[in-house]
Each structure stands twice: as structure tokens, then as C-alpha cells.
């Protein structure tokens, strides 16, 4: 038996989520082997550090852009070749796209939004978040092959001593695998995405207008954070739609979420409840966000944020 992981890359480099799914797989595998599948990775052996002993590295120009059906086909062939009974994927937009297709191909049960190592492996029961993070649901996967969709930052990274052997793998791809055609990709380069970020700095309507986002971006810069916003802010076009977080926007599962001038409406909180530590800066002590936050500062964001940025810079300089 082996545990298979889909290790995502971007421009040939592994994403943090790849190391996290590998760490998780190592824990689930016990003494068994962890096999990774990577697409056009430049240095696939890096995965050894996180418990992978073998990498099936696919080098194929046709797969340079993510394509759900083609990737699902390749992963299916890898799982069959390796006789894998457990497949672990992240919950990035791409993994969430590919996992249900993979589940059908492998006749596998799939649990999404998994928050921790399995409660038990026989029966195979995992804890997942449900009701937009307002509850947890323990789900038993009853099929022979099982797919775990691991929420970002839920398990963390665990380093291991070990080496990964890298094998070339050339799945047989069919024309139909490319019947959904990716025409163009429009993606900000060199910007931390909300899904990958350890820290997310988010602004709401309390910031009054798009011209005031400089201090938010500055804080994000200092902390290596992604920027985000509440829904009205993206609705009004102050910030791009891709930054909107909440129940109808992107989910946040970062270690730290800093909300500036956001009231903390239930639909906003629904998307950020999974963030581990929450900080709110708001001039209204009655704002509902204070009930959801770990730390709060009551006061005017236009005074507090610039001061905080200076102090964060000093802190970073000392702790670099």
C-alpha cells in the first residue's frame, strides 16, 4: 500500500500546500510509502524533506497550464500504478476542481475541508469543517480508495529526514482530457495569494475609499501577507473581486487575520472563522468583530495602522 499526494507547483516550484499534504500523508501512511505526483517540477527531490520517498515527476509541456481533467487522468493513472488506497490533495482552487473528478475515476470516497489527521484509520474517519466553519463534521469514508482534501494550514509542515527518489512518469493522455481548453490565465505575479498566505491583512468599508489602501498594502508588505477585503469593498470596485473574502468570497485559513474597519457581519466571519488568530481594529467597540477576535484595538484605523506599521517594521528588523 502507499499514500499518494498531489503536490502542486507554480512555475516549477512547490507551493507550501504541497509540503503540507506530504507531511500529512507521512503521518497517515505510518510505515507505508508516500508517493508524490508533481507536474513539471524543477527540483522534485525537495519533497523528501517532508516524508515523500518517491516522486512521480511528470514533464510534459501540454500540462504546463493546470487542466482539471488532464490532471485528474494523470493522477488516476499514478494511483492505479502505485496501488494507492489513500490520496491526499490540498484545498486550493485547483485541487478542489480536480478532486471530485478523481473521486469518480478511482471510485473513491472524498472528504473535503479536512482539519486534522484521521480520528481513526479503521474505520477511516476524518474531522472536516462544515456549516461555513460554524461546526465540525466527522465523516467516515467507506470506500476502498479514499481521498482526503486537507484544508490549508490545518496540519502544518512536518520535516522528516529522508530522501525522495525521482522517477519520470509519462501518463497516457487522451484528446478528451483537453476538451476544456484553458485560453488564458490572468494572475498577479509575485503577490501572495489569500489561499497560500500565512497572514492576511483585510480592509472594510471603514477605510472610506480605495485611496486609503496604501497603509493596508504596507502592512501586508511588512508581514509578507496577502491583502483581502470585505464584500462591499469589492462590490464598490475599491478592490478587485479576487480579494473578497467571506461566505460568498474566498475562504481564509491563515495563521493570522487582521481586519481593519470591518464590522464582522456573520457572512464575513463565515469565511474567516478558520483563521487561527484574529485581530480587529475598529473605532466602534460594539462592532460584532470584537466577539469573534482574539485581539482588538478600539480606535481610528487612520491613526492606529500607520503607527502599528512603524512598530511592525521595527519588530521585523529585530527579528529578521
Amino acid at each position: 500500500m502507499s499514500v499518494l499526494v498531489y503536490t502542486e507547483t507554480e512555475d516549477g516550484k512547490f507551493k507550501k500546500a504541497a509540503f503540507e499534504v506530504a507531511s500529512y500523508a507521512k503521518e497517515v501512511a505510518g510505515g507505508d510509502e508516500v508517493v508524490a505526483v508533481s507536474f513539471n517540477a524543477t527540483d522534485a527531490s525537495e519533497l523528501g524533506k517532508y516524508g515523500v520517498s518517491k516522486v512521480l515527476n511528470i514533464q510534459n509541456d501540454k500540462l504546463s497550464k493546470f487542466n482539471a481533467e488532464a490532471y485528474a487522468d494523470a493522477l488516476t493513472q499514478a494511483a492505479k500504478k502505485e496501488g494507492s488506497k489513500i490520496v491526499v490533495v490540498s484545498q486550493s482552487a485547483n485541487s478542489k476542481y480536480v478532486a471530485p473528478l478523481l473521486a469518480v475515476h478511482l471510485k473513491a470516497g472524498y472528504a473535503s475541508n479536512v482539519m486534522a489527521a484521521p480520528e481513526s484509520t479503521d474505520p477511516f474517519t476524518v474531522k472536516r469543517s462544515a456549516f461555513t466553519n460554524k461546526a465540525f463534521n466527522f465523516t467516515k469514508i467507506t470506500t476502498d480508495v479514499k481521498i482526503v482534501g486537507l484544508s490549508q494550514n490545518a496540519f502544518g509542515l512536518k520535516e522528516n529526514e529522508g530522501e525522495a527518489t525521482v522517477e519520470d512518469f509519462s501518463p497516457e493522455l487522451k484528446d478528451e482530457d483537453f476538451s476544456v481548453n484553458v485560453e488564458s490565465v490572468d494572475k498577479a505575479k509575485d503577490k501572495v495569494t489569500i489561499a497560500d498566505a500565512e497572514v492576511v491583512v483585510s480592509g472594510g468599508r471603514g477605510l472610506k475609499g480605495p485611496e486609503n489602501w496604501g497603509m493596508i498594502e504596507e502592512m501586508a508588505d511588512i508581514l509578507g501577507a496577502a491583502t483581502a477585503c470585505s464584500k462591499p469593498v469589492s462590490d464598490m470596485g475599491w478592490r478587485p473581486h479576487s480579494e473578497h473574502v467571506g461566505q460568498t468570497g474566498k475562504p481564509v485559513a491563515s495563521n493570522l487575520y487582521i481586519a481593519v474597519g470591518i464590522s464582522g457581519a456573520i457572512q464575513h466571519l463565515a469565511g474567516i472563522n478558520a483563521a487561527k488568530t484574529k485581530v480587529v481594529i475598529n473605532n466602534d467597540p460594539e462592532a460584532p468583530f470584537f466577539k469573534a477576535a482574539d485581539y482588538g484595538v478600539v480606535g481610528d484605523a487612520f491613526e492606529i495602522v500607520p503607527k502599528l506599521n512603524e512598530k511592525l517594521k521595527e519588530f521585523k528588523a529585530k527579528n529578521a
Partner: protein, 248 residues
């Protein structure tokens, strides 16, 4: 064009989430059920196709009789026919299997589902449905155009978006952006009257296996009170974030 919109019947977002029967069942007491918000965007987009390009729009739900008011609401918004597959929804795969049967029998060109239901947040039904049907699939759609048998969609990805094309039949997982929020259709009186006369067909389920089982639920541990930091003493905040929360 024949469009099928998959409607999931979910507690509205402000609902209190509680469990009964030894934390094994969702407590529906006092809960107001609505059309899943992601499906609302899809349904309104389907109505746009109907009005602008000529299309028929059916809606479907897999669930017990208690979901019928939600289907009636979809009819009041303007769908032509509703179908209810008479079996409780137990897991994503079982629902996808039932939907696949409806989709095959109806010969639909376009199947619009939501990127996820806001109750179990599975995010699996649309992809599994496409997989079972062997139809093209585009997830997290924020824009969809159809010209003849060719669809162009924009998909939200982490940190940006992607433009994709595919031929019909196509299944999408849709969300906000498919239509503007201000354009979301709300049932009016005329729609509600007409909906009473529109067909709501109850079909019996196919045999379908489940792949997963919800064993029990748990609520997160109550959170401690927020620690307030004096705006004049922001060093304390940094200290707490560094030493206590280990977040920076």
C-alpha cells in the same frame, strides 16, 4: 438550449447551527431554508439565457418533501419545471448519481450547479456529476457565455482568474459573479402565482451507493473573550502576537 439548474436546499446564513440525537443530526428546529446562494446566481444566469437566447430551464433537487418550498421559489423566479428526486441527500456521490440520472433522462445541454453548498461545504457534487456523465466541467465560474454549442467561462483561481472554453454538454460549479448581485431575481407576486401551476415532478431514486457517512457533529470550543489593547500601547499587541499567539 436545455438548462438544468441543481438547487441545494440549505439553512440561511444567519441560522443557529445546533445538533440533535447525540450530535448526529442537524437540528432544523426554527431554521429557515433557502436556495443555496451559489445556486441563486446560477439560476438567475439561466433565466438570462432563457430571456436573451431562448432556453428552457428546469430545476432539480435531491431531497425529501420538505425541500419543495425551495423548488417552488425557484419556479417563482422563473424556472419552467421542477424535479424532486425523492430521497434524502446523504452524501455528495449519492446526490451526483441521482442528478446524473435526471440529467441523462432529460438530455440537458448545460447543467448549472453551485461551487459548494453552504451547509456541508462539500464542493463535490458538480465535479462528480460531470465525471459520472463524462461531460465537460468548469468549476468556480464567475462568468458564462454560450454561443451555439460552445461555452466561454471565466473561472476564479487563487490570486486571479482564467478564461476557458468548452463545448456542450457542460457542467459548471457557479458562484457570485455569474450575474451581478443587484440583478439577482427575487420572486414577485405574479411569479409566485404562476409557480403554483407549474409542474413539480417527484421522481423515485435510482439505486445509488454512498461513499461517505456523516458520523457526528461538534461545535468549536467557545472562544475566550477578546483581549483589548490600548491604542497608545501597540507594542503590547506585537508582543501578544509574537509570544502568545505565535502568529508573527
Amino acid at each position: 438550449m436545455k438548462i438544468l439548474v441543481c438547487i441545494s436546499h440549505v439553512p440561511d446564513t444567519t441560522s443557529k447551527i445546533n445538533f440533535t440525537d447525540g450530535d448526529s443530526k442537524f437540528d432544523t428546529n426554527g431554521v429557515n431554508f433557502v436556495i443555496n446562494p451559489n445556486d441563486e446566481f446560477g439560476l438567475t444566469r439561466a433565466m438570462w439565457f432563457k430571456e436573451k437566447q431562448g432556453a428552457s430551464v428546469d430545476v432539480v433537487n435531491v431531497g425529501g418533501a420538505e425541500t419543495e418550498p425551495t423548488l417552488r421559489k425557484a419556479l417563482a423566479i422563473g424556472a419552467d419545471n421542477a424535479i424532486r428526486v425523492n430521497t434524502p441527500a446523504t452524501d455528495g456521490f449519492q446526490v451526483a448519481k441521482q442528478l446524473a440520472k435526471v440529467a441523462k433522462d432529460g438530455g440537458y445541454d448545460l447543467i448549472i450547479a453551485g461551487r459548494e453548498s453552504i451547509d456541508y461545504n462539500g464542493g463535490m457534487v458538480p465535479g462528480m456529476l460531470a465525471g459520472i456523465l463524462d461531460a465537460n466541467f468548469i468549476n468556480t465560474c464567475i462568468s458564462l457565455e454560450v454561443e451555439g454549442d460552445k461555452a466561454t467561462a471565466i473561472r476564479e483561481i487563487d490570486g486571479g482568474k482564467e478564461t476557458l472554453t468548452a463545448s456542450l454538454p457542460l457542467v459548471i460549479g457557479g458562484q457570485k459573479g455569474l450575474v451581478e448581485e443587484s440583478d439577482l431575481k427575487i420572486p414577485n407576486m405574479r411569479g409566485i402565482m404562476q409557480a403554483r401551476k407549474k409542474p413539480l415532478n417527484v421522481v423515485e431514486p435510482d439505486e445509488a451507493a454512498t461513499h461517505t457517512e456523516a458520523v457526528k457533529f461538534e461545535k468549536p470550543a467557545p472562544k475566550g473573550d477578546v483581549k483589548l489593547v490600548d491604542p497608545e500601547n501597540l507594542d503590547e499587541l506585537i508582543d501578544l502576537l509574537h509570544n502568545e499567539a505565535k502568529a508573527i
